[in-house]
């Protein structure tokens, strides 16, 4: 066969230079934008009121194989540390007991967020039209699988090497019993995947990742290491290296819709709702996990919050988006108030409901009480005194027959659940901004604790129909509910949850609870 001129040129070129040649990821990526084509049905399966631009670019420019190379390098380091030196020095066990318990919740709840982010970014990959933008979201889909597995790995490691495996070893089943779970689902599960695709991106990327990832994933590593935990920093800081790309995806989402008319109409409302949605849960829960779930204190939550949420995100990050018409959310000011007291209010309720957890909780010690009072003046009058009363009545002792929940009933302080955020609140005994609002719709009563959530519900009640734990468990006895939710240890009767982490304290059993005869009631029914 005749040799073509191109073959001759290739032959000549080889004669001159035989240097090995390969192809880099960037050289492939630069063609990516042309991989798609127009056809009649080419549109997203998930409606959005915004239009994402066809020519949106991504910043990170990865191809599949290069992505894998990069991640596997990070994996080698991370799993190498965990499996080698940390295991040899018994690091899994040498963690303060209070923190061992906190990681049951933190790692498992973060896992839920990571898991739902897989689906969320799948939806965004579908919604975007530009192949580069799709590619950015695709990278995130894979990252979120990574993070799901990594969070699981933390609980897995504590299960294998830690001082109390219960809860670490079955959080995926027992987490559904208690009062923190449904609120977690709102922010980390449904808030990411159910709604207008861009609204979900704002929840996940612009608020969840750009705003709360820093306190959640970075600050937590400081608290962890102060309390002896080196597993969490090893894993979470590795997660964090991927998050930069996710924040960039959120930024590109806004860029891609910036010129769309819908953005000027809806973007700031969606952002405000997303911010309130995320902060309503994270502000109190993170503050509570850090301060009440640790022995050694790094800094008061309100300071962390002001730095990361108020200044860094509300100021700088949102400021950068100002040229696209993005404004700081109107609810930021109310959130700032929550950052001071809401986590103290929530801990009181969480502790009162301790048997429904999959972790052990601890009342503040005298030393801690001093620290709280110094950083949150007025703390003792409101909370410290009550904890002293609970302790005096034997709330830690299984023989006492006393659950702090009884204190709320005796003093006529009913606990409600906010329909939109699913966060419990006690309007008659709190220092945070919660106020009780009750609305009736289709013969059903709904309680709310703030104006922002109430507004969301008023405009779209069909989106927030989920029953809460008091409606679900109404009329049922506490130990029965826990047994049904598998909240017991492998001996079949000792509770996973306990009201103390003292190594000499006695452990509560199902029978200890049963004797008390605590029956769930729906507070809305007695209104």
């Amino acid at each position: 066969m005749a040799i073509s001129s191109a073959t001759k040129a290739a032959t000549d070129a080889l004669a001159v230079n035989r240097a090995p040649v390969s192809v880099g990821a960037q050289e492939v990526h630069r063609w990516l934008q042309s991989f798609t084509w127009d056809f009649e049905k080419n549109r997203t399966k998930y409606s959005t009121k915004y239009k994402m631009a066809n020519d949106t670019k991504e910043q990170f420019k990865l191809i599949a194989k290069e992505y894998a190379r990069m991640e596997s390098v990070k994996d080698e380091r991370q799993f190498g540390s965990l499996q080698d030196v940390l295991t040899r020095v018994d690091a899994g066990n040498r963690v303060h007991p209070k923190w061992n318990e906190s990681m049951k919740v933190i790692s498992n709840f973060l896992e839920v967020g990571e898991y739902n982010a897989i689906a969320a970014t799948g939806m965004l990959w579908d919604s975007a039209t530009a192949p580069e933008q799709k590619n950015g979201y695709l990278g995130q889909v894979l990252d979120e699988i990574r993070h799901t597995n990594q969070c699981g790995y933390v609980n897995y490691y504590f299960t294998k090497h830690g001082q109390d495996a219960a809860g670490h070893n079955d959080a995926r089943r027992t987490r559904a019993i208690g009062p923190l779970w449904k609120g977690m689902k709102r922010v980390f599960s449904d808030g990411f995947i159910s709604g207008d695709a861009v609204e979900c991106s704002i929840n996940l990327q612009l608020v969840g990742e750009a705003c709360f990832t820093n306190p959640l994933i970075v600050a937590v590593t400081e608290w962890a290491s102060a309390n002896g935990d080196e597993m969490t920093p090893t894993v979470f800081l590795s997660i964090e290296t991927d998050e930069l790309r996710h924040m960039a995806n959120g930024y590109q989402t806004i860029v891609s819709i910036a010129n769309d008319e819908a953005a000027s109409k809806y973007l700031n409302t969606d952002l405000n709702n997303a911010f309130w949605t995320q902060q309503k849960y994270f502000t109190p829960v993170l503050g509570m996990m850090f301060e009440y779930g640790s022995h050694f204190k790094v800094e008061p939550w309100v300071k962390t919050w002001n730095r990361w949420v108020y200044e860094d995100w509300g100021g700088i990050w949102i400021g950068r988006l100002g040229k696209y018409g993005v404004e700081s959310p109107a609810s930021l000011r109310d959130a700032k108030k929550d950052a001071y007291w809401a986590h103290h209010d929530l801990f009181m309720i969480a502790y009162a409901l301790w048997p429904t957890g999959f972790f052990r909780l601890t009342l503040p010690t005298a030393e801690e009480a001093e620290w709280y009072e110094a950083n949150y003046p007025g703390w003792y009058e409101m909370y410290g005194k009550v904890y002293e009363e609970w302790r005096a009545r034997g709330c830690e002792d299984p023989n006492s027959g006393f659950l702090p929940l009884q204190w709320f009933a005796e003093n006529n302080h009913p606990i409600y659940i906010d329909r939109v955020s699913q966060v419990p609140f006690c309007p008659s005994y709190c220092k945070g901004a919660s106020t009780l609002r009750v609305l009736e719709f289709n013969g059903k009563k709904h309680s709310f604790s703030d104006q922002w959530g109430e507004r969301m519900w008023l405009s779209e009640p069909e989106r927030y129909e989920c029953q809460n734990i008091f409606e679900q468990y109404e009329g049922r006895e506490l130990s029965e509910v826990i047994a049904e939710g598998h909240g017991v240890r492998s001996d079949g009767f000792t509770l996973i949850a306990q009201p103390h982490t003292s190594k000499d304290g006695k452990l509560w059993t199902l029978d200890d609870l049963k004797k008390i005869g605590c029956v769930f009631a729906d507070p809305l029914k007695s209104l």
Binding site: A10, Y115, A165, S194, G195, Y464
Partner: protein, 392 residues
């Protein structure tokens, strides 16, 4: 000591802090069960790491079969559509958490394999170029077949890749979701590696056009990929049921059309035209195909077809879906036959008898591995006859 710890002091290494921690730790562990996810039914004899790290990460309520949670969704779509729902597919399962990747790959294992493949690709290309192999490729094969038609096939892979986005959003199980994302990523990897090969050729062969213009024109306007393009568009964007997307793509279209194009056309023929480069890339794709086959046959056969309650119903539905997607796939193959008129004929290799034998291999494999397990009766010789009418 004070409970305030500043300046990054670490509890594991700071003696003062460590002493407080050690004093607080219980003398013996409070719980003896050190098996995470002990309540999960293992696929093999005992629970493996993949099952520990992946199973039940999805928080679905019990009214979606297999779920461990209770109650409604805490936020729904505008108008009240649920986050995830049984109505998202016509398939029924008594446990959407049952699927397992037969290779038990969680994220770290999956990216480790692909990272090795990438590093090895880099080393292979360097050796290939330094060796001067490129001189031996037949110019028509190189410029027209690899330049245009392999390039155009990249769009088929890219379209199938995109079909996974809504599956990743909508499917009802955690292991399903992770598997779907991984087999989706393999598809875009294929499309990217096709472009990588073309870019590589452009570096070695002056004048070789690496641009995607001509292949895209072939894919969107040419006759050879017309049937394929129409089928891919329908899988990607015309289909909403996430199981049907996976079934049509991975149980019908790819094992027939994809396998013929990759294995029986590019892989089998390249050596005859002096091309030792393309087999390197196609072999990677064939590895992904076999891993994907393990995954999707687990989904559709091991789980859905064998479901104790809904197995028979699912088989019937899969047979109905086969009726729907087979003719389109056969048509795609028929159109693809046009490619044989574009290459220099080699007797016994590209002649009709050889093509028919190649088609038989593909259809036989498909019948054994995909049709028989769901009781789908089919006359493959009739399909082959139809496909062959596409020869020009």
């Amino acid at each position: 000591m004070s409970i305030v710890v500043a300046g990054g002091r670490r509890g594991l290494t700071d003696p003062e802090i460590a002493a407080v921690i050690l004093a607080a730790i219980p003398d013996k562990p409070l719980e003896t069960n050190r098996k995470m996810n002990y309540f999960v039914e293992p696929r093999g004899r005992r629970l493996n790491e993949y099952e520990v790290l992946c199973c039940y990460t999805q928080p679905t309520p019990d009214w979606i079969p297999g779920g461990l949670d209770w109650g409604d969704w805490t936020q729904k779509f505008h108008g009240g559509r649920p986050s995830w729902s049984n109505e998202s597919t016509e398939m029924h399962s008594s446990d959407w958490h049952k699927h397992r990747d037969p290779a038990f790959r969680w994220h770290a294992l999956y990216v480790k394999d692909k990272a090795e493949e990438w590093r090895y690709t880099d080393r292979f290309l360097k050796a290939y170029s330094a060796d001067g192999h490129v001189r031996s490729i037949d110019p028509i094969w190189r410029d027209e077949v690899l330049g245009d038609y392999l390039g155009a096939f990249g769009f088929s892979e890219y379209g199938l890749f995109n079909a996974h986005s809504s599956v990743v959003r909508d499917c009802l199980g955690d292991t399903l979701r992770m598997s779907s994302a991984m087999i989706g990523l393999d598809k875009v990897d294929n499309a990217q590696m096709i472009q990588a090969e073309r870019t590589f050729l452009a570096k070695l062969v002056p004048g070789f056009d690496e641009s995607t213009d001509v292949p895209k024109n072939e894919w969107t306007k040419g006759s050879i990929y017309k049937g394929a393009r129409e089928t891919v568009e329908e899988i990607w964007q015309g289909t909403y049921d996430w199981n049907e997307i996976l079934f049509s793509g991975h149980m019908i279209y790819d094992p027939l059309f994809g396998q013929f194009v990759r294995r029986e056309f590019f892989l089998r023929l390249s050596a005859y035209y002096g091309d030792n480069l393309t087999p390197f890339f196609i072999n990677q794709m064939q590895l992904y195909h076999s891993q994907t086959k393990g995954i999707t046959t687990d989904m559709f056969h091991t789980c859905l077809s064998a479901d104790p309650t809904f197995g028979e119903y699912n088989d019937r539905l899969m047979r109905a879906w086969s009726d729907k997607w087979l003719p389109r796939t056969v048509n795609a193959l028929k159109d693809f036959m046009g490619i044989f008129a574009k290459i220099p004929e080699i007797k016994g290799v590209t002649s009709k008898d050889a093509i028919e034998a190649a088609l038989e291999r593909v259809f036989d494999d498909w019948q054994r591995d995909y049709a028989d397990p769901i009781g789908y009766k089919v006359d493959t010789s009739a399909f082959i006859k139809t496909v062959l009418t596409g020869l020009k």
